[in-house]
C-alpha cells in the first residue's frame, strides 16, 4: 500500500459549480484524487467533463462569479489550500512557484508585448529575492534546459517570433526557473503538430523526472498518456469514473465509458476495414443534472440498479489501487458484488 506521506497533492471531494442563468452547472462533482511525489498522473476525459475546472480549482483560478468552489479540500504539502482565499498572499506565493501550470495555447498564456526574458524575470523576481541580473542568468539557464537553442538571444524575442513548440518550451521554462514541485499541464500538446508533440512530451517528462517534480497531465488523448503516465483518472460529466495504473486502464478497462473511449480511437496497427465502435449519443448537459450515473443514456451495460440508484461511489475494485464508479461488471454483464 502506498504511504499517505508520499502524497504531494491530495484532492478530496472537490465540488465546483458555475451558477448561470440556466441553472447550476456542476462542473466538478465530488472529485477526489492524489498525486505522489515524483509521479506522473493523467486526468483523461472529453471536453466538458470537468478536467480543466478541477485544475483551475486547485489553483483557485475559477472565475467568480459565475464559478464557485462549493466544498472539498485541496491538500498540498499537508496544507489545505482552500483555506487560503484565492487572492491571499499564501495562494499567490504558491501559484506559479510551488505549483506551475502550462496551458494548451501558450500564445494566450504569454504576454504578446513583453519579451520572453522579461516575462521569465518577472516570474522569478516575484518568487525569489534576486536582482534583475541574477534573474536573467536563471532565465537563460531555464531556457537552455528546455532545449531552446541560443537561449541568450531568445531572451530578447517576443512570443510571436517563436514557433508553437518553442512557446510551449518557454512555458515549461518558467516552471523550471521557479523549481516548482508540481506542474499541471492542461492539454500541453493539443495545439502542436505530431512530431513537435512528441518532442515536447519527451522534454516535459524528462524534466519532471530529472528534477523530482510531480506532473498532472490533463488531456483528452489516451495515446499521449499511454507512454508517460504512471496512473490515470478517467473523468466523465464532473465525476471520476475510473482510476488505476496506466496498464490497468488501457489493457483492462472496467468502466463502460473507458472501454468505449478505447474502442473509439482509430488504431494504427489494426487491419484496414475494421469498424470503429463509437459511444452512441453525446455527453450530457451538466445543468441541473440528477444525482444518478451520468453515463446511463450512452451505456451498453445499463441495468435496473443503475436507473434506480444514486451515482455509484468511486470504490475499490480488485487489486492494485484500482477504483471504479459503476454498478455493473462489464465482463459478466452482471451487477457487481461489492460486499
Amino acid at each position: 500500500m502506498e504511504n499517505k506521506k508520499d502524497y504531494l497533492l491530495e484532492v478530496k471531494h472537490l465540488r465546483t459549480s458555475f451558477f448561470t442563468t440556466n441553472g447550476e452547472v456542476k462542473a466538478v462533482n465530488d472529485v477526489s484524487f492524489h498525486v505522489n511525489r515524483g509521479e506522473v498522473v493523467a486526468i483523461v476525459g472529453e471536453s466538458g467533463c470537468g478536467k480543466s475546472v478541477t485544475q483551475m480549482s486547485i489553483m483557485q483560478l475559477v472565475q467568480s462569479p459565475p464559478g464557485k468552489i462549493l466544498g472539498g479540500e485541496v491538500i498540498f504539502n499537508g496544507k489545505n489550500l482552500l483555506e487560503y482565499g484565492p487572492n491571499s498572499k499564501e495562494m499567490r506565493s504558491i501559484r506559479g512557484d510551488k505549483i506551475a501550470m502550462i496551458f494548451q495555447e501558450p500564445m494566450t498564456a504569454l504576454d504578446p508585448v513583453m519579451t520572453i526574458g522579461d516575462q521569465l524575470v518577472e516570474v522569478i523576481r516575484t518568487h525569489r529575492k534576486v536582482s534583475r541580473k541574477e534573474a536573467l542568468v536563471i532565465a537563460e539557464k531555464a531556457l537552455d534546459s528546455v532545449g531552446i537553442p541560443d537561449a541568450k538571444a531568445r531572451l530578447t524575442n517576443y512570443p510571436f517570433e517563436m514557433s508553437g513548440g518553442m512557446r510551449q518550451r518557454a512555458m515549461i521554462a518558467t516552471a523550471v526557473a521557479c523549481e516548482s514541485e508540481l506542474l499541471i499541464a492542461d492539454e500541453p500538446t493539443t495545439a502542436l503538430d505530431v512530431t513537435t508533440q512528441a518532442q515536447v512530451m519527451e522534454l516535459l517528462v524528462d524534466i519532471v523526472h530529472k528534477r523530482g517534480m510531480s506532473l498532472i497531465i490533463v488531456t483528452h488523448n489516451l495515446g499521449v498518456v499511454n507512454r508517460y503516465a504512471d496512473r490515470i483518472y478517467v473523468m466523465y460529466a464532473g465525476h471520476v469514473v475510473e482510476q488505476g495504473t496506466t496498464e490497468q486502464i488501457l489493457k483492462y478497462p472496467h468502466h463502460p465509458y473507458t472501454e468505449g473511449l478505447l474502442a473509439s480511437v482509430p488504431k494504427l496497427e489494426e487491419e484496414v476495414g475494421e469498424k470503429l465502435v463509437p459511444i452512441p449519443g453525446t455527453p450530457p448537459n451538466l445543468t441541473d443534472i440528477p444525482d444518478i450515473c451520468p453515463f446511463i443514456p450512452r451505456c451498453r451495460y445499463v441495468c435496473d440498479k443503475c436507473r434506480n440508484s444514486a451515482m455509484p461511489p468511486l470504490e475499490k475494485a480488485g487489486e492494485g489501487g484500482r477504483y471504479l464508479a459503476c454498478y455493473v461488471d462489464i465482463n459478466t454483464n452482471e451487477v457487481r458484488d461489492n460486499g
Binding site: 472529453e46 471536453s47 514557433s163 513548440g165 518553442m166 503538430d193 505530431v194 512530431t195 513537435t196 508533440q197 512528441a198 518532442q199 519527451e202 483528452h220 488523448n221 489516451l222 495515446g223 499521449v224 499511454n226 507512454r227 496506466t246 496498464e247 488501457l250 489493457k251 468505449g260 473511449l261 478505447l262 474502442a263 473509439s264 480511437v265 482509430p266 488504431k267 494504427l268 496497427e269 489494426e270 487491419e271 484496414v272 475494421e274 469498424k275 470503429l276 465502435v277 463509437p278 459511444i279 452512441p280 453525446t282 455527453p283
Partner: protein, 331 residues
C-alpha cells in the same frame, strides 16, 4: 495501373505559389510544389501531413478556391485549373467541401431548414415546397439527425451534430467528390468515431469519392484507400493504406508514424521511436534539395543538392527519396 475511365480526379504537377512581402523584400511561398496524384471513383485519398505542408492548399486548388500557379486538375475530362469562372458553377455543385469547424461555415442566423434549402435550390431548377420539405427530411435522416431538428439553429447543436449538418449540406448538392478538410479534428474522441463511421456508410451508400485531409495519420489510415504523405508542399510518399503501417519507406513517414501516440499498452512500449529534431522549416526559406534533409538522420550529400522525384517502387507504392530502394529492401 488503374484504367483511365476509373480515374475521377487527376492532379498533374500542381503548383500553388503565394507571393508575399516582408518589408520591401519580396518572397514566394511554395505552398504546393509539383504535386501529382490520381483519385479513383469510389475511393478515398487521404492527404496527411503536419501544419504548413500544403494539404489544405491542395484541397482548395481542387475546388478552385485558389487559382493554381501551374499544373492541371483533370476532373471528368475537364481541366479545373483552366476553367472560366462561368464554367466553374457546375463543378462547384459536383465537388463539395466539408470544413473542420462547421460552426464557422454555418450562418448562425439561419435555421437548419434554411441552410439546407439554400443548398437544395442552388441548382436553379424548379422545386415545389413539398419537394424541398421532403428533401430536407431525407438529408437529415441520411446523416442520422432527426427531421424534427429542422427548425433549430446551429448554436443549439453539439459539435458532432453540427458536423453532421455540414455533411448534409454538402450532400444536398448531390456531389460526386467531397473534399473533407480535417472534418473530425475538432471533435471529441467518442464523437469522432461516430462521424468517421458516418463518412464510411455514406461513401458505400451514395458511391461518393473523398479527398480526406487530416493531420492524424491513424484517422486517415482508417478511412483512406490510398494515402499521400505531404511535407513542405511535396508528396514524399504515396501508397496503399494497408501498407503504411507495415512498410513505410520514407524517413519522414517513419518518424511521423512513430511519433503518433497509440493506446495499445504493450506495443507503445516495444515499438521503435524516432523523435525528429528541430521543426518544419518555413516554406519561404525551403531547404535546397530534398525538403526533409535538414531533419533527416540518413541525409547524405546528394540530399541537399537534388530534390528526389516520386519514384514507383512497385506494389502501387511511390517514394520521393534518393535511398528509397535501400530503405524498402531493409524491411
Amino acid at each position: 495501373m488503374a484504367e483511365e475511365k476509373d480515374v475521377i480526379l487527376d492532379v498533374q504537377n500542381l503548383k500553388m505559389y503565394f507571393k508575399t512581402a516582408k518589408g520591401f523584400k519580396k518572397q514566394v511561398v511554395k505552398a504546393v510544389d509539383d504535386v501529382s496524384f490520381q483519385v479513383l471513383k469510389g475511393q478515398t485519398l487521404g492527404l496527411v501531413g503536419e501544419s504548413g505542408c500544403g494539404k489544405t492548399t491542395t484541397g482548395k486548388c481542387i475546388l478552385r478556391i485558389n487559382d493554381p500557379t501551374d499544373g492541371h486538375i483533370i476532373y471528368k475530362g475537364r481541366d479545373i485549373a483552366r476553367l472560366k469562372k462561368s464554367e466553374l458553377r457546375e463543378n462547384r455543385r459536383d465537388i463539395q467541401l466539408i470544413f473542420q469547424d462547421p460552426y464557422g461555415s454555418l450562418n448562425p442566423r439561419q435555421n437548419l431548414r434554411t441552410i439546407l434549402k439554400d443548398a437544395i435550390v442552388g441548382d436553379h431548377k424548379p422545386h415545389t415546397a413539398e419537394e424541398i420539405r421532403r428533401e430536407i427530411d431525407r438529408l437529415l435522416t441520411l446523416v442520422e439527425l432527426s427531421p424534427l431538428m429542422a427548425d433549430r439553429y446551429p448554436h443549439e447543436l453539439s459539435g458532432g451534430q453540427r458536423q453532421r449538418l455540414g455533411i448534409a449540406r454538402a450532400l444536398a448538392c448531390k456531389p460526386t467528390l467531397i473534399v473533407c478538410d480535417e472534418p473530425v479534428s475538432a471533435l471529441d474522441v467518442s464523437i469522432q468515431a461516430q462521424i468517421i463511421n458516418l463518412f464510411e456508410r455514406l461513401k458505400d451508400e451514395l458511391g461518393l469519392t473523398y479527398v480526406f485531409i487530416a493531420h492524424d495519420i491513424a484517422v486517415v489510415k482508417h478511412i483512406a484507400d490510398v494515402i499521400a504523405v505531404m511535407y513542405l508542399g511535396h508528396i514524399v510518399e504515396m501508397m496503399d493504406a494497408k501498407q503504411i503501417f507495415r512498410n513505410p519507406v520514407h524517413p519522414y513517414t517513419r518518424s511521423l508514424l512513430s511519433a503518433v501516440p497509440t493506446v495499445d499498452y504493450d506495443s507503445e512500449r516495444t515499438r521503435e521511436r524516432i523523435i525528429l529534431q528541430g521543426e518544419v522549416p518555413s516554406p519561404t526559406h525551403a531547404p535546397s534539395g530534398c525538403p526533409f534533409h535538414p531533419r533527416c538522420v540518413y541525409a547524405k550529400d546528394i540530399c541537399s543538392k537534388e530534390c528526389p522525384a516520386l519514384k514507383d517502387i512497385g506494389d502501387k507504392h511511390s517514394v520521393a527519396c534518393h535511398f528509397a530502394e535501400q530503405f524498402s529492401s531493409e524491411k
